[in-house]
């Protein structure tokens, strides 16, 4: 294969902390599947035969088990367990590089990406421009992030990134996050001269899918200060695109005594080796990436960052509470249901669009389960139950006269008679007492909510954990 896929499934899920106490982030269910499955499934569909999955050591077995046994993944997975849970995403790449795991150009994916983008579209951009790094950006998600999140209300807003593109909207010329900008953004005139028309978009989300040249890993091994991929490495590469190659000695004026003697490390440009004939082919070809001047292709810059913009379809990163609960809904229903079903047509999710209820689930009389719901195997649903826009996990027991709307009910949850659950996430093995009323709440693993309880915008999680906070 041309690319070596690496799935980053070792993240702590810090923004989903109420849910990840007992369950690693990668295994949080979305539409009754662990979220990492979607990424792996996408690779499988694209024809990849093997992938490296980076996981935390403690969760390794569990994830392996889930993927191999329960989801029956066919692709060959090489689990790489990390013993350091502080390592950033770029650190992970460095470790992989040092262990000599990386043989080719790489494709990095996050475990929380739910998308129907065709990988070959992104890869084609990468190939066309012989790019150093290619990103997948999407303008879709902002609508999902703005929905109210369950649990304790926070005032955190989605961080904006500013992406500057060239005229064609493919090359990234400039990248900065809004938080890093104080008052103004400076742009060098030399960049403007090469790219006199720059388009800056502010509503894009980096989907954490990167095609990258192998030399970038070599560079990471040499320069150890970079630890984050999205926040440090990518902006670094984008900036270095306009680095001018240092003049070799023979170009310098000879009797030049005023030069400061340099003791340089090999700079980034010396890492970026192009393939043997690539430069030559380019110089002979009439193809050029710009117009308006007589410069060579790419203005001779050796580092090039490009992006593929996804404008339609599904693209979500389930990395916040709101986007997590939203992605559950999106997968199960809504306007994008059919698309998702098409992509994830494996197993029980909608091979046939009516089968949103697993055959082994039991639903008693006079209950209503909306077509936009998913009910997993072995679920027991009592009488006069109403379930709308929700996902019900395996072996759940929903007793009579329960109302569930806009919620995620994970596996082995019991909801007692007469309760009302709205816009909430109920983690596995929890028990909701009789006639509870939960609105926009998070219920942690193995929690018991007392009967008659009324909660709004609360996180009902383990006490010890609360103490820690």
């Amino acid at each position: 294969m041309e690319f070596q896929p690496i799935v980053m499934a070792g993240g702590p899920g810090s923004r989903l902390s109420d849910l990840t106490v007992k369950c690693p982030k990668a295994l949080l269910p979305i539409g009754n599947k662990p979220m990492v499955w979607y990424t792996i499934n996408m690779l499988e569909k694209a024809g990849f035969e093997e992938a490296i999955v980076v996981v935390q050591e403690e969760h390794c077995e569990e994830i392996k088990n889930q993927l191999m046994d329960i989801c029956a993944v066919k692709i060959r997975l090489d689990f790489f367990s990390l013993d350091d849970d502080e390592a950033g995403t770029a650190d992970v790449l460095r470790i992989l590089g040092e262990k000599d795991k990386i043989k080719r150009d790489i494709l990095i994916l996050s475990c929380d990406l739910i998308t129907d983008v065709s990988l070959h579209n992104v890869a084609n951009i990468h190939r066309t421009y012989d790019a150093s790094a290619t990103l997948l950006l999407s303008q879709l998600p902002s609508q999902y992030y703005d929905v109210p999140a369950p649990g304790v209300k926070s005032k955190k807003r989605l961080e904006k990134d500013f992406f500057g593109f060239d005229e064609k909207g493919e090359r990234i010329l400039f990248l900065t996050s809004e938080a890093d900008v104080e008052e103004s953004i400076e742009m060098k005139k030399s960049i403007l001269r090469k790219h006199p028309c720059i388009n800056i978009k502010t509503k894009l989300t980096d989907c954490f899918m990167y095609f990258m040249k192998k030399w970038v890993i070599d560079y990471l091994i040499e320069y150890k200060t970079i630890s984050d991929l999205k926040g440090e490495l990518i902006p670094h590469l984008v900036r270095k695109q306009f680095l001018k190659p240092k003049k070799s000695d023979k170009d310098l004026p000879k009797p030049d005594q005023s030069v400061i003697v340099e003791t340089t490390k090999a700079d980034i440009l010396s890492f970026s080796k192009s393939e043997e004939y690539a430069d030559e082919i380019r110089s002979m070809s009439t193809w050029i990436d710009h117009r308006g001047d007589m410069e060579d292709c790419f203005h001779c810059s050796k580092i090039r960052c490009y992006a593929y913009l996804q404008n339609e379809g599904v693209c979500l990163r389930a990395n916040t509470l709101s986007s997590y609960s939203e992605s559950n809904k999106q997968v199960g229903m809504g306007p994008v249901k059919r698309k998702v079903q098409k992509i994830f047509s494996a197993l029980d999710i909608g091979k046939d669009k009516d089968v949103h209820i697993h055959p082994s689930a039991t639903i008693k009389e006079k209950s209503q389960v909306g077509a936009d719901c998913l009910v997993a195997e072995g679920a027991l649903i009592g009488e006069r139950v109403s379930i709308k826009k929700s996902v019900v996990g395996k072996h759940c027991k929903i007793e009579d006269k329960v109302k569930i709307t806009n919620s995620v009910i994970m596996d082995h949850v019991t909801v007692k008679e007469g309760s009302n659950v709205q816009g909430s996430i109920i983690s596995a093995h929890s028990l909701i007492g009789e006639k509870c009323d939960l609105k926009d709440c998070i219920v942690g693993n193995e929690q018991h909510v007392n009967p008659m309880g009324k909660y709004t915008n609360e996180a009902i999680v383990e006490v010890e954990k609360m103490m820690e906070i």
Binding site: I185, K188, R193, I198, T202, K203, L243, P253, Q257, I260
Partner: protein
């Protein structure tokens, strides 16, 4: 034409009459001294007055009321219009507004506001714009867009897309704009000519989903304004130019709610002749037919009816006399009644009416107006020769010169680059055209003779003693249109520098500066060094200094070094005495230049240190070092105090060995100097 679509009643009222305001004054003296006698808008471009181009595009677009606003030489403009076809058109009325006290476009608009002649949206254009754009459709578009943009859209500025460094892009109009991508609304506007960076305020990005930064726009100086524009100028007396206006509108956008948009034209031509460089560029564009149908062979001006168009863009009027063997290479326009002698070669030039051009003349990139006489074996490069100029035998006019009305030079003289000459010595009748506060002055330079039969006086902008002369130099450099190629290569290297600045090392700048300086010196090698050329050389080096941001103290050393280095670079095999003599020659030749920089004791020390460094890298120099010092001393560049002080300094770097050996080498000189000093001080004390 407006009737046809007048469905909306409210628009009907507005669209009754289409108006345009032509500012027929430039409010500056860039074309001095030519503009002493004629306003800029009446100067010929491809043998037609600039104003005629503007009026032609307005009238052919069907603009009904055209107001020509003139201050300087208003009578001449009036006369010109009344003699032209524009005074007798039935579709359009062309009227002049005269105001003497106007100093800027802002003043003009205030005046227009007071006269309350503007009734609807109007075109605001300079009188020196050449365009083939469809102005009426631009006006229509502006009017229509108000429905979506609201009545507060006060101005649509017309730009042409055109990559940076295009010949027709005026350097002063080096602007980066931030636009709202979907609407082309102007969000931010910055002139970047003197900056290395474009600064975009954060809120522009935070409050917009998509922003386009554009650096590929050529300012056509055509603006479609809403009727409230003159009153906005009236309200803000500090608005002098359109730039002030744009800035003001953007700054107060939140308070006043006015917005501005741009319109980018792709296939049409529009450019303003705002300086000499643009004069050159636009003339070339017209000859190479970018501005079609505004081309010499199109008879929109009556007298042109007789021009024929040949291949290689050669335009000939019908009664031109061409002698056998003369060659019109390409892009040449020869006017009525002109004769060209044999073996004369002309390229990229415009020649006016009734000129006499002799034999064996070479003309390249020159603009020769009417009644000019050029005698045999003359050479003219990239210059403007006004009406009545005479070049006597074998004269040579270098690039970027202006020979104003009736100047006579020669015979057998070379006019150095960028010289501006006028025919009358000085002027009690301070008749300067477009005078600015820093009004120019012609200086009597009796020292300059431009040939035995010459009638020419040097014209220069005022030296303002209080101000450092940097600005003025910049101005001059901008204006020397002959030097375009060089200025481009300058900016080229600057670009490269920019890129490296992330891992910036000081040395880089110096290296490039040094090579450039050497190149500059080489260029002057074959020229005679006299007052003017030293001045010019100084300008060039100063401008290099600015563009590479060289510390003045580094400059002292670098210049001296470059002059010494020059012979070695030209011939690496030179040795010993040969080398020494050529170095000495160079030093003597450029002593005026060095002295200009190396004056104070401090600068002499810098110079010495730099030479010492030079020795460390170059053995030849090291061996000749003492003799060079001696020569510099003889030339009074270095004083004995400086040399002695330098000699006594402890080693600076780590190369103590060399330090000692150099000190040893120059010891005899020092001894001699000390003795000489003692002697002189003894003498003094006597």
């Amino acid at each position: 034409m407006s009737r046809g679509k007048g469905k909306q009643r409210e628009d009907l009222k507005q669209e009754d009459v289409s108006q345009a305001v032509v500012i027929a004054d430039s409010f500056n003296v860039r074309f001095g001294p030519i503009t002493d006698r004629k306003p800029r808008t009446l100067l010929p471009v491809a043998n037609v007055a600039m104003l005629d181009y503007t009026l032609e595009s307005l009238t052919s677009a069907g603009i009904q009321e055209i107001f020509v606003f003139c201050c300087h030489h208003a009578d001449k403009i009036k006369e010109h219009i009344s003699n032209s076809k524009f005074s007798s058109l039935t579709s359009s009325t062309v009227s002049t507004i005269v105001s003497d006290g106007c100093m800027s476009m802002g003043d003009a608009l205030r005046e227009i506001h007071d006269k309350s002649i503007i009734r609807s949206d109007f075109i605001l254009i300079y009188g020196d714009v050449v365009t083939n754009a469809n102005l009426s459709s631009l006006l229509e578009e502006h009017k229509k867009s108000k429905q979506t943009r609201g009545n507060n859209a006060v101005m649509t500025m017309v730009y042409k897309s055109c990559p940076p460094r295009h010949r027709t892009r005026c350097q002063e109009d080096d602007v980066v704009m931030a636009l709202e991508t979907s609407t082309n609304r102007v969000l931010h506007y910055q002139k970047v000519a003197d900056h290395r960076k474009f600064v975009l305020p954060k809120e522009v990005l935070s409050s917009n989903n998509e922003v386009t930064l554009r650096y590929d726009l050529l300012n056509c100086q055509i603006n479609i304004c809403s009727p409230q524009v003159p009153s906005l100028f009236k309200d803000n007396f500090d608005y002098l130019t359109r730039d002030d206006f744009v800035r003001g509108i953007l700054e107060n956008e939140e308070i006043m709610g006015y917005t501005m948009y741009i319109k980018v034209i792709q296939d049409q031509y529009a450019a303003r002749i705002s300086n000499l460089h643009m004069y050159d560029a636009v003339s070339r564009d017209i000859l190479s037919r970018w501005s079609y149908p505004i081309v010499p062979d199109n008879s929109f001006i009556e007298e042109r009816s007789s021009v024929t168009y040949g291949r290689h863009n050669v335009y000939l009027s019908n009664d031109v006399t061409l002698a056998r063997g003369c060659e019109l290479e390409k892009s040449v326009y020869v006017g009525r009644g002109t004769s060209v002698g044999s073996n004369t070669v002309i390229t990229n030039s415009v020649i006016g009416k009734d000129c006499r051009i002799g034999e064996n003349v070479k003309i390249d990139g020159a603009y020769i107006w009417d009644n000019v006489t050029i005698e045999n074996s003359c050479r003219v490069e990239s210059s403007i020769l006004c009406n009545g100029v005479v070049l006597y035998d074998s004269s040579h006019v270098s690039q970027g010169c202006i020979l104003s009305w009736d100047v006579k030079v020669g015979p057998s003289i070379t006019i150095p680059r960028g010289t501006r000459l006028k025919s009358s010595p000085d002027d009690e009748e301070d008749d300067f055209g477009e005078d600015l506060p820093e009004a120019d002055q012609a200086t009597k330079e009796n020292a300059h003779h431009f040939g035995s039969r010459s009638q020419a006086y040097l014209f220069r902008l005022t030296q303002d003693p209080t101000d450092s002369d940097e600005e003025e130099e910049d101005q001059l450099i901008h204006d020397m249109f002959g030097l375009e190629i060089q200025s481009e290569s300058e900016s080229d290297t600057e670009t490269d520098l920019d890129e490296s600045s992330e891992d910036n090392i000081m040395g880089d700048d110096m290296d490039v500066f040094y090579t450039e300086a050497i190149d500059t010196l080489k260029k002057y090698k074959n020229l005679k060094i006299d007052g003017t050329s030293t001045e010019n050389l100084k300008f060039e080096i100063n401008s290099l200094k600015h563009s590479y941001n060289i510390n003045i103290r580094d400059l002292y050393g670098l210049i001296t070094k470059a002059i010494i280095d020059l012979p070695m670079r030209e011939d690496a095999n030179l040795d010993g005495n040969q080398l020494l003599s050529s170095m000495k020659q160079n030093l003597t030749k450029y002593q005026a230049l060095i002295k200009n920089y190396v004056r104070s004791g401090e600068s002499q020390m810098d110079c010495l240190h730099s030479l010492e460094d030079f020795c460390q890298t170059n053995e030849k120099v090291q061996s000749l070092f003492m003799k060079l010092l001696h020569h510099l001393y003889d030339l009074d560049i270095l004083s004995e105090q400086a040399v002695i002080k330098w000699h006594g300094l402890p080693p600076m770097g780590d190369n103590t060995e060399l330090h000692v050996s150099i000190r040893k080498q120059v010891a005899p000189l020092i001894k001699w100097l000390q003795e000489a000093e003692e002697e002189s001080s003894e003498e003094d004390s006597d």
